[in-house]
């Protein structure tokens, strides 16, 4: 029986971190625990910190059990499941005072016993597993399940739920189900017999997860593309966006294959590079299909040339940028929001693009659909700026909903009949005074034929080097961006709106911001919060900025890119925008937001926002 350090009773509010070796199959054991807790009705978040590697490097997985359903990373570790000898030293250090460390006690580990303020729990996992199972690979995999069993006992996780999950995974493979169930039981029974179960940090049933799912943003976005009616996906593999196309393809194979003929109502093209991937999307969209490409920062850099063409020739296209840490190759398996400026003004010449900022997987689903509607309505590229945290981690979201009455907004596309009624078709004339012109598709009618080009053209679609003719088109494109502001999703306002201090943020910062707002409220600091969902910024953003005296811009990059974009594209006074930046590559926590706001307010004590 280990000597338990007195810890506060923290039911349904703690963090378990798993330190593993990449490629050892630990992911399934970790998600087993997370999902079991979720099924007990207790909100959880999962964050995966993995290396850019296939096998051998350290990898961590973090489960935050959060009765208040906070979506952000907690920024502390209460229980470390230290399964990687190589990282013991740092893993031990990371445990919060009063926390726990669980390790494989098959071999003596003097190094893990260095801290007096934590409880070290040894479970002879390798010994237990080796006595019951054969085969090196098998033993490695089952050792993970064994620690999941021990953890289930320690955390008071319902073993029947865990068993149920195993049955769902291995129901069709009785041998695997049998060994997994047995390994789970080994760990569970050992903990029950030898350790004080459950720990003060433990799980108790709640009812806060019904109507919710655990899903990652890339899966949700891929599903959104299916529901949007996308038929052509072109891509070049790049972390962390790859799983988006994997999801799209998987769903299409399930929903878009004619069972009778095997005919497929979709095409997924693995391109030779990102230049080709976006070219295929432009070609397919120009030809009337809903087409998209998922990528990340380095891919966006390569796509710039075609993005400019699509902007100027007014071809719809949808680009998912699952942002990762830059610059250059950066840290491919870490998260950031550092492509904001890159995407807003992608390509040479005067260009501005529509951006959408989903905050979680649920929004990835809906914004995927919106992106196609916007791209076709506005005949322009639309970027969905997700990030690795949203895209690859499992988030608790409300069930995704679908209205069968939805029909895609294909925008202004002339049919053969409509063309027949025209004297002559001109591609770039502003007939409706909304700066959006009519387009035609190849193959429909010779009357709709026009020559699409990235070279200078006039409103009639013909080549020009005439200054005035060129400017007519360019000025309409500027007006079209004003039209775009009316169509894009409105920002989300939290708070009464009358507070002097405000937070403006985007995307995956949302969880940390909301948690920070609760913390600040406990400190009697009231703030208003505006989450921007799209660029161009609409009137709502403009008026929110002008209504608040002190505004904190929270974002995950070094150079305050959102703040820059706000100062460039709104009338806001730069001096009243304070930046709170997180660019470590790890998902944001609420702490820097709380500290940042308290720090500035402490320097300006007269601010009436501090209501003591």
């Amino acid at each position: 029986m280990p000597n338990l350090v007195n810890a506060p009773d923290r039911v349904n509010d703690f963090v378990v971190k798993f330190a593993n070796v990449n490629g050892t199959g630990s992911a399934s054991a970790n998600s087993l625990i997370m999902k079991a807790i979720f099924r007990m009705g207790v909100p959880v978040t999962g964050k995966n910190y993995f290396p850019s590697n296939i096998q051998g490097l350290p990898t961590w997985y973090e489960i935050r059990v959060t009765r208040d359903a906070y979506a952000a990373r907690a920024g502390r570790v209460d229980i470390m499941v230290a399964m990687n000898a190589e990282t013991y030293q740092r893993d031990v250090r990371e445990v919060a005072s009063g926390g726990y460390l669980i390790y494989d006690a098959t071999w003596p580990r003097s190094v893990v016993l260095q801290r007096a303020d934590i409880t070290v729990i040894g479970v002879p996992l390798a010994k237990l597993v080796n006595e019951s199972f054969d085969g090196v690979r098998n033993r490695i995999l089952l050792k993970n399940i064994a620690y999941a069993g021990a953890l289930a006992a320690l955390l008071n996780v319902d073993l029947e739920i865990v068993n149920g999950l195993l049955t769902e995974s291995y129901g069709k493979k009785p041998k695997l189900l049998d060994s997994n169930t047995k390994a789970l039981r080994l760990g569970y029974d050992y903990a029950k017999q030898h350790l004080g179960c459950p720990l003060p940090l433990r799980v108790e049933r709640m009812d806060k997860t019904s109507g919710h799912i655990m899903i990652d943003g890339n899966t949700a976005a891929g599903l959104g593309c299916v529901y949007a009616g996308a038929t052509v996906g072109a891509w070049y593999p790049i972390t962390p966006s790859t799983s988006l196309m994997d999801a799209f393809k998987g769903f299409c194979e399930r929903y878009r294959v004619d069972p009778a003929t095997g005919e497929r109502n979709f095409a997924v093209i693995q391109a030779e590079d990102e230049l080709a991937a976006i070219g295929m999307v432009v070609g397919a969209s120009w030809n009337g299909a809903r087409a998209f490409t998922p990528t990340s920062g380095p891919g966006i850099s390569l796509m710039n040339e075609f993005v400019g063409l699509a902007y100027y020739a007014e071809v719809p296209c949808v680009i998912f940028d699952v942002q990762r840490v830059g610059p250059s190759t950066g840290m491919p398996t870490r998260t950031q929001q550092s492509d904001i400026m890159l995407c807003a003004y992608a390509s040479h010449g005067d260009t501005r693009h529509v951006l959408l900022f989903p905050a979680n997987p649920e929004e990835c689903f809906y914004m995927a659909v919106q992106a196609f509607d916007l791209a076709e309505r506005l005949q322009t590229p639309v970027f969905v700026l997700s990030d690795l945290d949203i895209g690859m981690n499992d988030w608790m979201c409300r069930d995704l909903q679908w209205d069968d009455a939805y029909r895609p907004d294909r925008g202004k596309v002339l049919s053969a009949e409509e063309l027949a009624g025209l004297d002559k078709f001109y591609r770039y004339v502003d007939r409706d005074d909304d700066a959006i012109s009519y387009r035609t598709l190849p193959g429909v009618s010779p009357k709709g034929a026009y020559f699409t080009r990235g070279s200078g053209h006039n409103q009639y679609g013909t080549y020009t080097e005439d200054s005035a003719e060129y400017q007519v088109v360019l000025d309409r494109l500027r007006r079209k961006f004003t039209t775009a502001a009316k169509y894009v999703p409105k920002p989300e306002l939290l708070g009464k709106g009358g507070n002097e201090v405000a937070i403006v943020s985007i995307g995956s910062c949302d969880g940390a911001v909301r948690e920070a707002i609760d913390v600040l409220a406990r400190k009697k600091i009231q703030v208003d919060y505006l989450r921007i969902k799209a660029f161009p910024f609409g009137l709502e953003v403009e008026s929110f900025l002008s209504a608040h005296a002190t505004i904190f811009i929270v974002e995950q990059n070094r150079d305050a890119q959102l703040r820059s974009l706000l100062t460039l594209e709104t009338a806001v006074e730069k001096a009243k925008l304070h930046s709170i930046l997180s660019y470590s590559g790890l998902p944001m926590t609420c702490q820097p937001i709380v500290d940042g706001i308290c720090g500035v307010l402490a320097d300006a004590p007269r601010l009436s926002a501090i209501k003591r």
Partner: protein, 352 residues
């Protein structure tokens, strides 16, 4: 270039095709290329080919990159959509467009700079992907619009107008395509329209990627003594190994071909190319032999023209491998694309 606009009225006695259209109705805007440019002859051959195929103008999709050759897509079939994309990236536009609608006829026109330097990556991958399109390279060995730099197809020892000599070995599009398993590989000469027209027609009807490398001299920057891409040099060194006649599927083969000297190849739509052998032992269905033959001739500065290789039996066209629906993807009604609310509700169970 010419500054005279084309008259709109056609003479009533002009011959019409099965659609009742004259050749004039397959023309495009006025060429802005230099007078005597080989590319204009290729444009004329494409017009003739489309007219002869009785193609509805809107059935054609014209794609190009950047450069003199890429401009020419606006000089033919004005009733077809055209896409003058970015430098070297036409193959990806073509691949995407073709993925969206498999029913149209896609013709890409590119040059040696656009295809063999900046666009080499996209070209080879379009060949690998076996996109159903005709890809015409108007090959003149130089960059015209930027005033005469060597391109990647310039031969070793060839002289630029200003006297520079090229020392880097050329990339030959025909050998390149053969090495990649292309199923239709041809070479033509802009000065030989009679040979070029049936090649273009057969290439358009071939199911898969058809590439025609057309030697098309640049009168302004590469037509001087010492150039291996001049009219004079090309006329002396091009060597028609294989004449092709294109026979639309409705027509019987009218010409008598001597036994053993002709190879009829049926295309997937029922039309045929009849290959007339000019060399005794040449077999255009044998890619490896074709490669060896062409390579050998190139070392002797001989450009073999004609339909060099055809593999109509290959079942590797993009949509065939993708098992795409027969109905073009851009026309499938939304109701068939959305799994609907009930499916989503069911799917949610997977994520609990």
């Amino acid at each position: 270039m010419s500054f005279i606009n084309k008259p709109k009225v056609a003479h009533p006695a002009l011959p019409t095709n099965a659609l009742g259209l004259t050749r004039r109705q397959y023309e495009g805007s006025m060429s802005t290329l230099c007078a005597g440019c080989g590319h204009d002859s290729v444009t004329a051959a494409i017009i003739e080919a489309c007219w002869g195929l009785d193609m509805r103008p809107e059935q054609l999709v014209k794609l190009s990159g950047i450069g003199c050759s890429s401009k020419t897509t606006s000089y033919f079939v004005s009733g077809a959509h055209g896409f003058n994309s970015v430098h070297g990236r036409m193959p990806s536009i073509a691949s995407g467009a073709n993925a969206a609608n498999r029913e149209l006829t896609y013709v890409g026109v590119s040059g040696d700079g656009d295809s063999l330097s900046i666009g080499l990556g996209q070209l080879v991958h379009a060949i690998r992907r076996n996109v159903n399109m005709l890809y015409v390279i108007e090959n003149n060995g130089v960059y015209g619009l930027t005033k005469g730099q060597f391109s990647a197809s310039a031969d070793v020892g060839t002289k630029a107008k200003r006297g520079d000599v090229n020392h880097s070995p050329p990339i030959d599009p025909v050998l390149l395509a053969l090495s990649l398993g292309a199923t239709f590989v041809a070479r033509g000469f802009s000065g030989d329209k009679a040979q070029l027209v049936p090649l273009i027609q057969a290439g358009m009807r071939h199911r898969g990627f058809a590439i025609i490398d057309v030697l098309s001299p640049c009168v302004t920057f590469n037509d001087h003594e010492g150039s291996t891409k001049s009219y004079v040099f090309t006329r002396e060194h091009y060597h028609a190994a294989m004449e092709a006649d294109f026979v639309p599927h409705a027509e019987p083969i009218a010409v008598d071909y001597p036994q053993g000297e002709s190879i009829p190849v049926e295309l997937h739509d029922g039309s045929r190319v009849v290959l007339r052998k000019l060399g005794a032992s040449y077999d255009p269905t044998d890619a490896a032999a074709a490669y060896k033959f062409i390579e050998g001739k190139l070392t002797q500065n001989e450009y073999v023209t004609g339909l060099i290789h055809i593999n109509e039996a290959a079942n590797t066209e993009f949509h065939t491998l993708n098992k795409s629906s027969a109905m073009p993807l851009n026309r499938i009604p939304y109701e068939k694309l959305s799994p609907g609310r009930a499916a989503l509700e069911k799917l949610m169970g997977r994520y609990r």
